[in-house]
């Protein structure tokens, strides 16, 4: 009778296994469009003969196999991480591009142009009070344009800092979700496709925020390393990160905004480990590009260098000149003032000397020989002097070089973001194609695709060369 029970038990187990296989298929159909879901396949394993309980070799044990391909998932995460960075750069650089607009209507180039025109006009009649007033009025416009630009840059700096804080909060939130999922996975007796899909979806979201490395433990839990080094989630343990002001970064540069550091849960600086994802884009703009423009950390900032260069050059000419072209000579008064105690705040404090009058503007170069409008002429030609007064460049040229830095960064971000969207689609498509296939088939697909792209890449290089030749052939 023992044998009969064994046979019935075996048949019952077989039916249960087949029923579960149908459930797996049903799951695959239902979740076909669920984010992060990977198909599962039922695997039937014959059970060994058990001499004590009787015949059982006809029974089957059913195990569910995930068709998830670890490297395919990693490839998608890496591409999402790069896409996150370039898209973030696109977003953050767009308002900067508006500030550094080189068109004639842009505040700083327009005000500079007006100032040098007013110097030129004044040089034709140095004692003309209207022309003297025009110079002071144009100088006020220049100061106002610098102040306005400094305010805009400081606002962008503040909003980038705020974006870093909120991105770090999102990273910690995703990490907490992964921690919660790990707890559920540990308590789940069998692999759960739903939990696995939620995990994958969260990991993809996290990838777009920062570069992560994902490790799967034998108990099914997921460990997430930030930058491949800092454990953000280890099983059921969460190690939250934080964004802090790096006070030491601006020592010796009073008034400059400190850089932002990303610290792990022990307070160690891990900023250098964040190399892609939206957080990397934000930190790069906040700690590198913005300080190079408005100052921060140890940098004075290009806008402040320009403001100081302009003020010093103009003041120097006026203070060495005379308001009269005959003795006794009266030295002129400085036109611009700024707070020299805070080098990174010069653009924001640039102003026209309080109470200055047209009569205090010195147009005469006392020589010898004395030239009645010599100083005014020098001022009129200051922007086009060679070498220029700001690091060898003229003021307008220097502003253009700042604008070019921002423009190139934005252009590069746009190009990379567009290309990266294609690469994410590529990785996701490959993820689907290699799902459940053998390692050999996977390799064949990858090699085929790589050789096709290699062929395309060679033609693109030739096309690029031809386009460069064409540009050189067509005069502007």
């Amino acid at each position: 009778m023992g044998n009969l029970f064994s046979v019935l038990n075996s048949a019952s187990q077989s039916l249960q296994a087949f029923e579960k296989a149908i459930d797996v298929t049903q799951n695959n159909v239902t979740n076909a469009n669920s984010p992060g879901y990977a198909n599962q396949v039922p695997e039937f394993i014959s059970q060994d003969f058990q001499s004590i309980t009787g015949i059982n070799s006809g029974g089957v044990k059913e195990e569910t196999q995930d068709t998830r391909n670890t490297y395919a998932d990693t490839a998608v995460q890496q591409q999402l991480s790069l896409q996150g960075m370039y898209q973030q750069l696109q977003t953050t650089l767009a308002p900067l591009q508006n500030v550094f607009d080189v068109s004639a209507s842009s505040p700083i180039p327009s005000a500079l142009n007006q100032l040098f025109q007013s110097f030129s006009q004044w040089s034709t009649q140095p004692n003309n009070t209207n022309y003297q007033s025009s110079v002071i009025s144009a100088a006020q416009q220049v100061a106002s344009a610098f102040q306005q630009t400094a305010v805009q840059l400081n606002q962008i700096q503040a909003s980038t800092t705020s974006d870093i804080q909120s991105t770090v909060a999102q990273i910690n939130q995703d990490a907490a979700t992964i921690q919660g999922l790990n707890q559920q996975i540990q308590q789940s007796p069998e692999p759960d496709a739903g939990l696995s899909a939620q995990m994958e979806s969260t990991l993809e979201n996290l990838s777009s925020l920062a570069n992560i490395q994902v490790l799967k433990a034998s108990d099914g839990t997921t460990t997430v390393l930030l930058g491949g080094q800092t454990a953000l989630v280890e099983g059921t343990q969460l190690n939250a990160i934080q964004a802090v002001n790096n006070i030491a970064s601006n020592s010796g540069n009073p008034g400059a905004a400190p850089n932002i550091s990303i610290e792990n849960s022990s307070g160690t600086d891990i900023t250098s480990q964040i190399t892609s994802g939206g957080l990397a884009g934000l930190v790069n703009v906040r700690n590198n590009l913005l300080p190079s423009l408005i100052g921060g950390g140890q940098q004075v900032g290009g806008l402040n260098t320009l403001a100081q260069g302009l003020a010093d050059s103009v003041n120097n000419v006026l203070e060495q000149a005379s308001t009269t072209s005959t003795p006794p000579y009266q030295p002129g008064t400085a036109l611009f003032t700024y707070n020299s105690a805070a080098p990174s705040g010069i653009a924001g404090t640039l102003a026209v000397a309080s109470g200055i009058t047209g009569a205090q503007l010195a147009a005469a170069d006392t020589g010898p020989p004395v030239v009645a409008n010599g100083a005014a002429l020098t001022l009129a030609g200051l922007d086009s002097s060679n070498p220029g007064p700001v690091n060898g460049q003229g003021f307008t040229q220097y502003f253009s070089s700042l604008a070019a830095t921002v423009g190139n960064a934005a252009n590069s971000a746009n190009t990379e973001a567009t290309a990266q969207s294609g690469l994410v689609a590529q990785a996701q498509s490959l993820q689907q194609q290699v799902s459940g296939v053998s390692l050999d088939e996977e390799a064949i697909q990858l090699v085929q695709l790589q050789s096709s792209y290699d062929a395309a890449s060679k033609v693109v290089t030739v096309i690029d060369d031809t386009l460069q030749s064409l540009m050189a052939m067509i005069p502007t």
């Binding site: 490839a75 294609g422 390692l439 990858l446 085929q448 790589q450 693109v460 096309i463 005069p475 502007t476």
Partner: protein
Amino acid sequence: MENATQYGDARECLQAARTGMRQVKRLLSQPSFEAADESAALLRDVEVQLGCVAAILRQNGSRPDGEIRAGVEELQGEVAVLAAFLAGADKMLSGWLDAVRTRRGGYTERGQAAPLMLVRKLSVEG
């Protein structure tokens, strides 16, 4: 008059090149081996069309032409995106293949991924 006609031909060639590039972009937005192969063929056609533009301009001497210049600039932007895409794809596929190679054959003595051997094994017995 002849010069103007030939410049018109250059514009037509450029237009054909731009159309080809648009097709490449469309193809690569739906990644597959067939699409990648077709893109390479289309790119060779783009290269030929641009060669025609260069030949016509060389034959007729250079002169300012805003339309052609704008078209070439637009193509340069698209080529930059395509070059970034292909460079990124190569990096991704190389890394992926390395992972497959190590999973398939382990590592060489120098610590690199083992070469991929995709030859079918044949066993003959008896």
